[in-house]
């Protein structure tokens, strides 16, 4: 477990304010009473987090390298059809195991890289695989550009939506590297947690080596 990640707490007041600011003023009176039934993350332990398994072909027992990796500067996909794809955890998954809707959920995740051949910290030098959100409305990821004690890059995430009791919400991730990038085959460990909770979930993935100089 990783306990030393930087935590970003979204308070009930911040979340209410943010939600209110995003709404047309005319709707506020009708919407506001509904907040009375919503429990905010940090006030209830109903939200659990998982990291989705990377895609594996269980017919051949081989990793599926299907998740494209992007250039962090210009957003272009890197590599070609062989390289520049990873077998990586595609989603953070939130499940509301409580009895009340939960809003304002936030947390952190970290990404570590390790070379396959040498079993050493990635030759990319600075754990250069990064991640951001990938299209889910209300899901945002911020790269803190800091590292945890294991050398993994630390990111904060926030989901602005509401998770109903029993609901499972997938928060898709998009991976990128910053130019220039070169690495032999490597593995990635993604470890995620929800603010205010001690437990963390982790999954690893694997990437074929590629260079991205041009």
């Amino acid at each position: 477990m990783i306990h030393d990640m930087k935590k970003v707490q979204v308070t009930r007041r911040q979340a209410l304010l943010a939600s209110a600011c995003a709404l047309p003023a005319a709707l506020l009176p009708a919407i506001t009473p509904a907040f009375a039934d919503v429990v905010f993350a940090g006030e209830a332990g109903g939200i659990s987090i998982e990291v989705a398994d990377p895609p594996i072909n269980w017919d051949s027992y081989e990793p599926n390298y299907t998740l494209a990796i992007y250039n962090g500067q210009n957003g272009d996909q890197v590599g070609d059809k062989e390289l520049g794809y990873g077998c990586l955890p595609q989603n953070l998954v939130l499940t509301n195991k409580g009895t009340s809707p939960v809003s304002g959920i936030s947390g952190t995740f970290s990404l570590q890289m390790r070379d396959l051949g040498t079993d050493a910290k990635s030759s990319a030098g600075t754990d250069a695989t990064r991640a951001t959100s990938n299209g889910r409305e209300g899901f945002t990821v911020v790269d803190t550009h800091s590292k945890n004690s294991n050398g993994g890059g630390v990111f904060t995430w926030r989901y602005a939506g509401t998770v109903q009791p029993g609901e499972r919400v997938e928060l898709p991730l998009k991976y990128y590297v910053n130019y220039p990038f070169a690495n032999v085959d490597y593995e990635v460990l993604l470890t995620a947690s929800v603010d205010g909770q001690d437990d963390a979930a982790s999954r690893l993935g694997t990437v074929k080596g590629f260079a991205y100089y041009w």
Binding site: S60, L204, T206
Partner: protein, 497 residues
């Protein structure tokens, strides 16, 4: 009520915990080390397979690995110091049996594969036991207390440490066999962190058969931790029971010898108990009771004492895989291949790692087969020793099943073949050792249906010797579940007062 338990493996751990929870004080006599109290040496309590020392094996000057050769050269075994190490091998003529010594017994040295047998096979082997009750109540209880977990798909599917398992599973599928993810007691989240060097490595650093410093939920981390917390359990480590004598009042007096780690005798004692639970494992329990029967120190031991023993059909096989299996291999197995249908051709093959640190393109399998042949323990009056009558011929059904299984695998995967340069006498199928000794005091035969020895009140058996010779999978979950069942029923029957 004065209760003694001989042995601290699965059966002893269950008995101690459940009795202590009921308020009984129990003595637990264990011939090996209490490794939880052992100081580290060179930063480790246990040793890596590639760097054994006196902690690795029980009073040996050289390791005796399951296979000691590579490329026909004796490269594997290494000279070691003399001490009360964790792994033992008992040599009975043709059959060598691997055992764990120390508080936790076999849990200290096994691969942690926690497999519940097929219910149909359980019914075939132990028809005298209510399978419905076992599968509804006692197997779940055992799994829960042991901390058993399915291997996670990301580790098995994507980690470099399980490429060996993926290659073997791929070849098995091509041969038309079923593959299975095999539950284990290893902490998989710990393994993820190990793989990124965030925590001290254990299974990913060549630790398994000589013990694991981290990650594995051995009995000292589960049952014994709970039992010790009751304050009712009194461990007597490094203490061997030499003989058991039944007294006229149906109590039992044990002659014991306590040693230090180097083997120096510290004291000889006689300990007397109102109730005695035998949990020294199939070999330990059978040897003590066969001795007691033949020297007459326990009257009325049944004729079934020491009978119906088997090696769980164990056959180890190595294959040239024709492709890389990986320089990095976890010490903990997590997959199996099977064609099991309860027939004599049935094989459940654990895909075992071969963490040699170099690319050998080799797959290793521990095949568990359905071999109906059973042996028995023997008494040699001349030297007052207990033997085992297992012969090469008795392993032949296991070898035949494993051979047919592997030949089908080789035929479906061009460029693959069996290796014969690892085992003794250039055997491709190792028929001369077992990790899974079972039998000797069969439930319902040598004991009643709750494990009390027939004709000997107050003497109970609580280990793998209750199971007749095989169970179709790695047996420790079955041993644990059966012990949970038996102690439950014995406590309910007020056998301990």
């Amino acid at each position: 009520m004065n209760i003694g338990i001989i042995g601290s493996g699965y059966g002893g751990a269950v008995a101690a915990l459940r009795l202590a929870e009921q308020g009984y004080d129990v003595d637990v006599i264990e011939m090996g080390v209490d490794w939880e109290t052992m100081p580290k040496k060179n930063g480790l309590v246990f040793t890596k397979m590639t760097a054994p020392n006196e902690r690795s094996m029980w009073f040996k000057t050289k390791t005796q690995m399951p296979f000691g050769r590579l490329f026909d050269i004796p490269l594997i075994d290494k000279n070691i110091g003399w001490g009360a190490g964790v792994l033992d091998v008992e040599n009975f003529g043709f059959m060598n049996v691997y055992l764990g010594h120390g508080v936790g017994g076999g849990s200290l040295v096994n691969g942690g594969m926690a497999v519940v047998p097929r219910q149909s096979y359980f019914r075939k082997i132990l028809p005298q036991i209510d399978a419905g009750e076992m599968f509804a109540k006692y197997f779940p209880r055992a799994n829960d207390t042991l901390g058993v977990a399915e291997p996670p798909r990301d580790i098995i599917g994507a980690s470099k440490y399980y490429n060996f398992a993926r290659v073997a599973a791929n070849q098995a599928v091509k041969a038309g066999f079923q593959t299975a993810f095999v539950p284990n007691v290893y902490d998989w989240d710990y393994m993820r962190q190990e793989s990124f060097n965030n925590v001290e490595r254990s299974a990913l650093n060549g630790q398994v058969i000589f013990g694991n410093d981290h990650g594995k939920k051995t009995l000292p981390k589960t049952y014994w931790a709970k039992a010790k917390a009751t304050g009712k359990v009194h461990l007597k480590p490094l203490t061997e029971v030499l003989s058991i004598t039944q007294n006229p009042d149906n109590t039992f007096t044990l002659k014991t010898k306590t040693i230090d780690f180097d083997g120096r005798v510290l004291k000889n004692e006689e300990l007397t108990y109102d109730r005695l639970i035998m949990a020294a494992g199939s070999i330990g329990t059978s040897k003590l009771l066969v001795r007691a029967k033949n020297t007459g120190t326990i009257k009325n031991l049944p004729n079934e004492t020491g009978k119906r023993w088997g090696p769980n059909g164990n056959v180890m096989v190595a294959r040239n895989m024709g492709t890389a299996t990986g320089v990095y291999q976890a010490g903990i197995p997590a997959m199996g291949v099977t064609n099991w249908d309860d027939s004599p051709n049935s094989v459940f093959a654990e895909i075992a790692p071969f963490p040699a640190g170099i690319e050998l393109k080799t797959g290793l399998y521990l095949a568990i087969t359905e071999n109906p042949t059973l042996g028995e323990f023997t008494w040699n009056g001349a030297d007052q020793s207990v033997g085992l009558n297992w012969t090469q011929q008795m392993s032949a059904p296991s070898v035949a099943a494993a051979k047919a299984f592997m030949e089908k695998m080789n035929a479906a995967n061009r460029g693959t073949s069996n290796r014969s340069d690892l085992f003794e006498d250039n055997k491709a199928f190792s028929d001369y050792f077992s990790y899974h000794p079972l039998g000797g005091m069969i439930i319902g035969e040598a004991t009643d249906l709750n494990g009390e020895v027939k004709g000997v009140p107050n003497l109970f058996v609580m280990d793998g010797s209750l199971i007749p010779g095989r169970i179709g999978v790695n047996p420790f979950v079955t041993i644990t579940a059966l012990a949970e069942r038996n102690i439950d029923k014995l406590i309910s029957a007020r056998k301990f007062g």
